[in-house]
Assembly symmetry: C3
Homo-oligomer: 347 residues x 3
């Protein structure tokens, strides 16, 4: 796709190019040049905006954007320049990639440390001070950031990108087109210890970690290696920052975990599940495909069919909350007192 | 300030020097030498202590400290050597800095990797194996720890310190006098994906991260880059370890977030707020200036005026808790039964 | 112990060797060769399995394992080949170590950066780009992973292992036989600030971090240095990933913290405690020896004797949960209405 890249990494496209790329229908000047995407109220005449929510129809009239990405219904309500798409939000996602300023990695930095028995395919880029250990295998087009360590016998599939300061232990397998953000640690020991007369005897974690294709792992997230057998993250799973994925967990295709989730050992998450921020699961249970778990909710038993689950108490002014919290501790006796009253009243 | 530094990094001052530095009034021997600060009960005669809480008045008599940092009220209750300050706790903070043993960074280590197009001001120190990428800009007196990576076009203001193994992605801007602790990751992609027929289409995160002056970021904390526009942390904000700050969050001046807080995308925190450990916010809501959020409380809707908010249930012996937890699930029917009873009794 | 190590890092033993190593009694062919451990249903004839739970007796008959590690009771129920141990789970832990595929670290990589005034004992291994700062001391047999930084005056005891990309600040002391996983940060500043007219004045954190022997620290866990005096983790403590241990915390011998726990400043945890995933403690309180804290439970006051404590509400279908959550906010008035009813009924 022809484009102009400026010295600061920004790119420009015409509206016509944009329409082709996002798969939309342009109603407006195809030769108008756009340099980015902005919120409707802030967009300048060389930017586009998108409106995914019909309630925001008023924004159509105030925005100065070169074009607004909207669906047919919204397009019918205005005469302004629009880019009509079945899903404006998805079209925005595609358009955003055109303006991605993430530096393209290229070349092998002279300070990269590559073990002679590692295998590096063509087109691999290695950042400064990256370390590729013995028998590691990097597929074509893999990008490894500065300071990142790829442990022995670990494998990274084609076109996957590991940002700076990532750590892969030994025997970690990553598919193609994955993104691993900085500080993520894949393959550390699962938390397995057997009690031995008041002490803890370490259980060697002899499994690995296996990621499918197109998996995204957030910054400082940890995915432990399996004790027996592997920890498995299937194709298309997206995991946000600071999540803890314990040993032998399995996460099904295209599931999404928001920030600070914690999944205990051997838990299984089905496909197309979503876990909101700070959600968790206790170990050795299973979540069916298509489950949605609310923020900070801990899943404590297996769920066998899709649905939406929540836990917790709402925020309250602290003074009122203190009273409610005390009452919570009295709940069982309160319930018994209700039963007493019902008995007296001859229910 | 004249001082004597010993070989192990410790420093000594006279009580008179200390009084000037913390802005207090000394009642005691100005030439007494002190080598540090300790708790009242543990302080040796060459240390000072502080008593910020009037209830701890008894400690005044038992401590062997060279002087006790106290306010006027406490000073009036003793004949011992004291350093009288309006706020003993603040005076302790200042005094503590005199005894700081943090190694002073200096010089550019020969293994530091600096791109020829990076700009490094005078007095910058770069630790071993640090990496400064293309077009990065480091202001005068900036200290970069070992293994730390500063991404393309990122800028660090004067006298800011990045400890070891920090990662700044591209287009991250840090003000002057900031402190970024090890393992922190600034500028990783926000967690933005659009659903596309059961798959997730990545939304490029084209904004950056902007930190004001005198911001402190804890170890292994993550601050994501914005999707459109920047994630912004204003002057004087302090953030503890392992916090997750999502894309396009804005945190107002001098707010404080304790460890393991999680703030979802586009949430706005006002100035002078405090969030206790593990607190959180859902996305796209706003917290007014001066709000205080209790430990593990999730803010689920905007709060328009200052106040204190809490959530959660108190810890209980597990056996009792199990009963209360079951009753929680019955709360709605319990409430209905109360209404029934009231109706029967003709309320 | 004689063994055969194959080129991919796997090892083989005879059943007789295994029996001696785990301290069990073999009933079966001593010369059978085993190459690993697997779950009963998946074990091949060259693997062993273990059955720790008597309810899984049926697995004894279906497994193809060379031998099943069981206790006497289970052994009495089968004629198959078994390895009889007092604690099958502990025996499994020991056996697992025989098959550990973690690469053995050896040698000092030429890219390791060692300050001339650091002291490195015999048998120390240093990974690529590791950094050992001034006056650091590494005991015999210490293994330091790639990219790991050991700060000034920090000390690591014999045979301890720091994996890749660990950060130790200055004045951190680690005992013998410890394991520190990647991304862990020990010795960052505790979160100490004094309010000063709406700003935060930093309190220098002049203590250190002290770990006893045989301590295990999980990936991306943070343990802050003390403000005055040290943060102390006693012998045999095991800490999982992404835990936050604040300044001046003390954790007693052989206690265990599962993933994402958060312990606030100056909290004291006794010996032999267990904290489940995401548990926490507020600051300045104390947990007696032998306490067990449930998942996500925050300990809000001192506990003086051993016991089990929990908090939180159970997960519910979101629609039902919303009603219960609203009722929680009404709890105090519901309780008052019950009292009213009781009064009317002349209780």
């Amino acid at each position: 796709m022809s484009e102009i890249q400026s010295t600061d990494g920004s790119r420009t496209y015409t509206l016509a190019q944009l329409a082709i790329y996002v798969g939309g229908q342009l109603r407006g000047p195809g030769d108008a040049v756009v340099r980015g995407i902005a919120a409707p109220a802030l967009a300048r005449p060389d930017q586009v905006c998108f409106i995914a929510d019909k309630r925001h129809v008023a924004a159509l009239e105030i925005t100065e954007a070169a074009a607004a990405i909207v669906d047919e219904q919204l397009a019918a309500k205005t005469d302004r320049s629009v880019l009509i798409c079945a899903s404006p939000y998805l079209a925005y996602a595609r358009a955003s990639q055109l303006f991605d300023r993430t530096p393209v990695a290229s070349g092998i930095h002279p300070t990269a440390v590559v073990h002679p028995e590692a295998r590096i395919a063509e087109g691999v880029s290695l950042g400064a001070n990256s370390v590729i250990e013995k028998d590691a295998v990097l597929g074509a087009g893999v990008a490894v950031g500065a300071g990142t360590v790829v442990g022995q016998r670990s494998r990274v599939g084609e076109n996957s990108r590991l940002y700076a300061n990532v750590t892969l232990y030994h025997d970690v397998t990553i598919g193609a087109d994955c993104t691993i953000h900085s500080g993520a640690v894949l393959g550390a020991d699962g938390f397995g210890f057997a009690p031995d007369q008041g002490r803890w005897e370490r259980i060697a974690q002899n499994g690995g970690v296996v990621l499918g294709d197109a998996v995204s792992v957030g910054a400082n997230t940890t995915i432990d290696r399996g004790a027996i057998g592997d920890t498995v993250i299937e194709d298309g799973v997206i995991i946000d920052n600071l999540c803890q994925i314990a040993h032998n967990v399995r996460i099904g295709r295209h599931s999404a975990l928001a920030g600070t989730c914690g999944i205990a050992g051997s838990a299984i998450i089905g496909a197309h599940c979503t876990l909101a921020g700070g959600a968790g699961m206790v170990g050795h249970i299973e979540l069916a495909d298509g489950c949605h778990i609310g923020a900070r909710t801990v899943v404590t038993k297996s769920i066998s069919k899709k649905g939406s689950w929540s836990a917790g108490t709402p925020m309250m002014p602290s003074r009122e909350w203190r009273r409610a919290a005390v009452r919570f501790t009295q709940l069982d006796s309160l319930a018994q007192r209700i039963a007493e009253l019902e008995k007296k009243l001859g229910k």
